[in-house]
Point group: C2
Chain length 616, copies 2
Amino acid sequence: MFSVLKRLVVGRPLATTEQEHQRISKKIALAVFSSDAISSTAYATEEILFVVALGASSLALGLDVLIPIAIAVAILLAIVVTSYRQTIFAYPSGGGSYVVSRENLGETPSLVAGASLLVDYILTVAVSISAGVAAIVSIPALRGLATHRVELGLVLILIISLANLRGLKESGSVFSVPTYTYIVMLTLLVGWGLYASFTGRIGTVPFDKEAFDGTREFGGTLGLFLILKGFSSGAVALTGVEAISNGVPAFKRPESKNAATTLVWMAFILGGLFFGVSLLAHRLQPFPSHEQTVFSQMGLLVFGEGSVLYIILQFATAAILVLAANTAYADFPRISSIIAADGFLPKQLTNRGDRLVFSNGVVVLALSAGALIVVFGGVTNALIPLYAVGVFTSFTLSQSGMVVHHLKEREPGWRRNAALNGVGATTTFIVLMIVAVTKFSSGAWVPVIVIPIILLVFKVIHRHYERVRTNLAVTPEYRARPMNHTVVVLVGTVHRGVLDALAYARSLNPHRLLAVSVVSDDEEQAKVEAAWREFGLEEPLELVYSPYRELTRPLLTFIDELDAQRDNDIVTVVIPEFIVESWWAHVLHNQSALLLKARLLFRKGTVVTSLPYHLD
Amino acid sequence: MFSVLKRLVVGRPLATTEQEHQRISKKIALAVFSSDAISSTAYATEEILFVVALGASSLALGLDVLIPIAIAVAILLAIVVTSYRQTIFAYPSGGGSYVVSRENLGETPSLVAGASLLVDYILTVAVSISAGVAAIVSIPALRGLATHRVELGLVLILIISLANLRGLKESGSVFSVPTYTYIVMLTLLVGWGLYASFTGRIGTVPFDKEAFDGTREFGGTLGLFLILKGFSSGAVALTGVEAISNGVPAFKRPESKNAATTLVWMAFILGGLFFGVSLLAHRLQPFPSHEQTVFSQMGLLVFGEGSVLYIILQFATAAILVLAANTAYADFPRISSIIAADGFLPKQLTNRGDRLVFSNGVVVLALSAGALIVVFGGVTNALIPLYAVGVFTSFTLSQSGMVVHHLKEREPGWRRNAALNGVGATTTFIVLMIVAVTKFSSGAWVPVIVIPIILLVFKVIHRHYERVRTNLAVTPEYRARPMNHTVVVLVGTVHRGVLDALAYARSLNPHRLLAVSVVSDDEEQAKVEAAWREFGLEEPLELVYSPYRELTRPLLTFIDELDAQRDNDIVTVVIPEFIVESWWAHVLHNQSALLLKARLLFRKGTVVTSLPYHLD
């Protein structure tokens, strides 16, 4: 029954040989690999506003610093993208932060990168889904759904997870339609909005004290710290920029060149849209609100309430954000399978499910992101400080790795390349520090603690696997040590199953064969002894007295004593097990055999044989 | 670790021989066996009021019928007690409803009685604990706790359950102090209250529209139906009356005579207090309220707010109610173990835990009562209709059984005795019908459905055990059939554990020995074949191809084919298992062996041998 259900939900199994590679054009690659990066325009501007507008002494003052911060973020984007172009050419087989760090910086830095990436992908899902839900519940007609943000988010995660467990084919159109619709709609919003604003056709967003974050008042001055904090929030616009450099092998030949071109396109689209949105926000003066996104406020003003364009904008926003979450579903299981293959995560993460998907990774991602959404109540900007630390840690490590790469390889033009990556590494490191310091108290302390813990877990797991490997290693000269084989048949009451078990045990030709029965009073003892005589059984019957009506412990003591009598003893315990056909009937029988088996397995030199007796 | 925790909570294990009987005096027996019955005075009057006061057109009109209803209940009590006196003499070894029905009426009636008893004991716990909590949160100073009724109830259940898992010694003083305190306090309340009321020293309870059940208005007329419904509620005063007849063997000699005397004392105390409380309520005019019990309202008026006597009254009430719940903890596990020993409930209910307690019964009772408290929000009077049906079903069956007993035994005076029990049976049956009809829509339909379902479960379980018994039965002439023994060693990668497993398999001297490896692609196949050659292994290596990376299903197909080749084949599957010492390390290894073992056990003719390989 479970199996039928699984087939319905997950689809027919796929054979290992059905694994295939398809190569995609630049236009489709832009949609597939950039949805994560471009979708961050949907919340980055709002995140800056949340910090500066609420921290400054007035909304207007906050809006004034939006433009300089947006310019700083755009410059940061240019530096990071230039740096990543190097990676594309150096690692045409896909140079994720983990791989680049592992090959150039060594184990610990690569594990830090790995831990950052895993945390980031979980946060990508949580942040994107939360922001997508925010876009939907901002639509005036749907605002009643706002109280169900968490449930909506969880349903979306469930749908994406199931789709990915089926093994979502990365078909171009599924990705292209939402991504390009979003780009077009956002361009329309920014273009028409700026035109209408500068020509005086529209004014500013009407300020709504109710919808504006009600609990907080304007306060404090707009100092450098607040501006840097705003910048830290805006820097999340860069998340997902590394996706293209991970996916180089998927491009049409020449892969690196095509990937590099796509990266530059992506940077211009992302930078242009982000700056455009920030400029528009400066003009239209939307206010940070948990009831309605900044996007939705501006869309309503520019396109008019109830207009089709506004509805398309909101749904396109939600759609690209869901796509962004979906990219994490491709990346998290892949990265965790690589880390697991290196022996730092449980090996099960390397198992492909019967749809060729790293199913365990998908499940871990879904559960972690779902938990975050529940804990943070499905509100995006509570998660942002957690997000940025991981993103910039992996940027820094990846770029530093590239610097070392150039110094080692000394390929033509390596000095220039090393310099470019050096600038990238330094810049992203500075941003990392800014984020960690300015946002420490608002949540950046979480990754600062969590990433080292993950690192420690990686190391403990690795040590365990190493220990197992050396323990199991064996040379062709190895010979198993000779053994004295004792077979013990466990007897409760004497019935057909027990007689069959004794016959089976005899056929094993052990050095010694005996039956053992656990009794807790004289009456029980007399009963089993009488049966032994009645059936004329010749094997010695040992009685173990258990005053506390326990099975496992007295039996283990008995086996210890038996074992101590001879050297090289292997004791096989034959347990006649009564197998009933229906699950409910199992409840009707004592399951003490199960516990006993588990305990015996942990005892050295014991073999456990289950002799099932089936009901006719 | 679990074991240390268990010892701390439950105490040291007790040997079977430590089981002992202690006989108790009438004074202590009254406390031990009557707490359930006498404690029902704490809510019975209130339950009548809830029905008649809320159903009638005014509170005063409702209070008027209280007296006739109380008289009717007192008469009912006299009839039932007279009837039960017979049982005490006829069954000096303890004649519960189940035993009496089984011996006189046959299987099905006894199972109906058994089902009713089990349901009743669960409801005893839920109702008594809810009423006990109500007594506490009625105290003005503690009224803030009212919103935590459910949690308080669950904590009390947890404490009682743990105490009973330890095997509560039925020490006289633990029972005597609360029971006698309650009797004294209630006598004081009724006595002083009536005196003060008749002498005009106190008036009536001030009516508080707020505290009075706010959602309902007075309505309807006080017809016969409503009076009968009120009577049905009052009849719960009789719950627990049968306890003494169950516990006859615990009395000092002459057991039956002492028990009968105690029963009569109990009846007078219970009847007197119940009638007294009802009369007092008629005078003081308390109103049904979920905020404050009727008892508490009258206590406050009679003793004065803040008086020590009032506080003692409330705590004594809570204490005797907790004791009443505790008696169900003695009865439920005992009855369920008797029913299980007869083969109608899972055998595990007959296991005494290492403290000589039927631990499984205690756990089942605690979980069921806890669930009821949660579902009904810890409010007593929602549970009462469920309660009364079971109580009067078991009364009726028990008394009918006694009638049959007298007709069969024809002991001296049997005609008179049969007549007495006949009156008891008829009366309780009429009350059962009244309860079922008048309270059907308020919840009496639940036991009307649940008791037959339990009956069905009893029968299904019994059929299963019967089938098992006939299947396992065997004569001394039985000989196990001869077998062709094939041993299959499961091989993943070739390591030390696999070589040891092969050596073990060889030592079993099977008719046929082979190794089998499940591979999902050519690479895996080549790897295991190379290892086989490298280690010079001579056993045939069979490769099972599993394109969908599955283990269990292809292997089962392979064993089916192997099995089909010869007659009388016993296939032993040797699974080398890697055993790690810490629980967390288990997560790091594929647990596919576990699933495989479970599936193989369900296959006929397969023996599963686990060969643990321990890390050094």
